[in-house]
């Protein structure tokens, strides 16, 4: 069918209107001042000590939470991939299921759990264990990120894992590799596309969140997402907000490049 390509027409139109042009709008706002004159000053805003610190902290926290997600998700994905087929569809859905309870409410509920007189501390004190005081600290933010984004690490890794031919694993054992050798030489390298996809799917939202830091950080901790949100919603300086968003997009472009390099065939999709 020659005109099959035309089927992508409406989408192409849509993508240009609602993906490409809006991004160009950000570029425009980011590169002009309030009177519409060209300027670099919005981009330069990132170099103020406060913004740099917010960006640095965002990068640090999202790196840490990405690492935690990876460490938690990999064994989990391996366990899930070993289950029989019928069970897995159920268990994978178990990871999607929490999304039906609103993201804000779920994150808020962590306040209840972590507070000084929260559920966790009540349980801890019942067993005469020391109190856990991580609410309103970066630790709570990392917890919130790990909690919210863990499924986005588990699912791509899981999807790549189940596609690995069982015979390939058997072949490695057959050739003399023990469990850990098989893992490091075969399983791990073969799941790189999933890992990379998972890393970007956790890192980017963690880097740019403002809700989690708001809810679990007690507004004491300013992340780059908060700075941008405030520029738009409170400081009402859209130019600076756009400029900072442009800086963020550097990270997003970097992650797209990563994906292109390691996951050419789109194996590591989350869904």
């Amino acid at each position: 069918m020659k005109n099959k390509k035309l089927l992508a027409g409406p989408y192409l139109f849509w993508a240009v209107s609602f993906i490409i042009i809006p991004l160009l709008m950000i570029v425009y706002y980011g590169m002009t001042d309030s009177k519409g004159h060209f300027t670099w000053s919005n981009l330069a805003q990132i170099t103020t000590p406060e913004n740099l610190k917010a960006l640095g902290l965002s990068i640090l926290l999202s790196l840490v939470s990405t690492l935690f997600c990876l460490l938690l998700a990999y064994p989990l994905a391996m366990i899930l991939s070993e289950l029989s087929m019928n069970q897995t569809s159920f268990i994978v859905l178990i990871f999607i299921l929490p999304m039906w309870m609103n993201f804000l409410l779920r994150t808020m509920a962590w306040q209840n759990l972590l507070e000084k007189n929260g559920v966790i501390n009540i349980v801890l004190s019942f067993f005469h264990l020391p109190e856990l005081t991580i609410i309103n600290t970066p630790y709570a933010i990392v917890l919130g990120m790990v909690y919210n984004f863990l499924p986005f690490m588990v699912l791509p890794i899981y999807n790549v894992l189940v596609k690995i031919d069982k015979d390939v694993i058997s072949a490695a054992a057959d050739l003399g590799a023990n469990y850990w050798q098989t893992f490091f030489y075969i399983t791990l390298p073969l799941t790189v596309p999933g890992i990379i996809s998972g890393i970007t799917m956790v890192f980017v939202p963690s880097l740019t969140t403002f809700v989690i830091s708001d809810l679990l950080g007690g507004s004491k901790i300013l992340l780059i997402g908060n700075v941008i949100e405030q520029e738009f919603k409170q400081g009402s300086n859209w130019n600076v907000g756009s400029g900072l968003s442009l800086i963020l997009m550097i990270f997003i472009i970097a992650s797209m490049a990563l994906i292109n390099k390691y996951d050419k065939d789109g194996e590591g999709t989350a869904f």
Partner: protein, 357 residues
Amino acid sequence: MTNKLIDIVKVSKSFGENLVLDELDLYIRENEFLTLLGPSGCGKTTLLRILGGFETPDKGDIIFGGKNINALPPNKRQLNTVFQKYALFSHMTIAENIAFGLKIKGKSKSYIDDKIRYALKLVNLDGFEQRTPDSLSGGQQQRIAIARAIVNEPQVLLLDEPLGALDLKLRQDMQYELIRLKNELGITFIYVTHDQEEALTMSDTIVVMNQGYIQQIGTPEDIYNEPQNAFVADFIGESNIFAATMVKDKVVKMLGAIWECVDVGFGENKPVDAVLRPEDIDLVKPGEGVINGVVTNLIFKGVHYEMEVLANNYELLVHSTDMFPVGTEVGVKVDPFDIQIMKKPESEDEEVSNIEE
């Protein structure tokens, strides 16, 4: 070909409620090319996986070189497997694939390099070291899989339908290649296939399996010429199988007539199965054979003609180099030597039951 290398003793295995192997006994000699032949689901692959260490038997023992290896994990066994779909490591080059087992064993770099070159030469793929598996054709990948297995110098090579995914011509070439390899390496091959032609071409010994039981063990000639039951006869080559009655020794009643045969010891007036290979049936002038019939169908097959003959309401499949047009009246004749008589199973279960060698 005298020493027992592997002894399989009363091995059973089931998956859930599905009994795949039932108290199976088999031994494999050194330097033997042994083929496990049977339809899919007969348990042949399971048996191979048990030998490879990827499955553990529920009951019974695997004795390898005098030692019980039931509990030995795959990576400690002195045998290597060539997998059905090759199972090459797609993230490694050909050289890295072949070197994998040797690196694990901690061999020196020069030793590994020598081995890679030797193995690639052996499978006729010199110079492929730096290629990646997905740039290779199916046949080439298959050879790499073999090369990867044999550099480890296993005592036994297990091959799980290794030619199944190749096209006909390539399959035939690879059959000769495998025979050559086996002779050069001087090791035991255990080969799993559902293709009787492969089995007949390459094997020293064929083990015909069905539903977890061994149906017959023998040389290719034995299996083809003297199938011990209807299953084997039907599975190996084309055949006409008829219900018959053994009137007495060397006399059988089938197709509504009395025939002379060479089989003895079935008793008198006992129901049996009789097998007639299509190429063993001679078509002669009407009246000159034991029974008369009419040719109802004719196909040219290249080497011979394939005809269907209706005689006494029985349909016979006949292969002959002589051509009889459709409608020709013919006489049917079979040499007594070519009539194969088999004990009739009394129930469905017995049909698949273990048969003593």
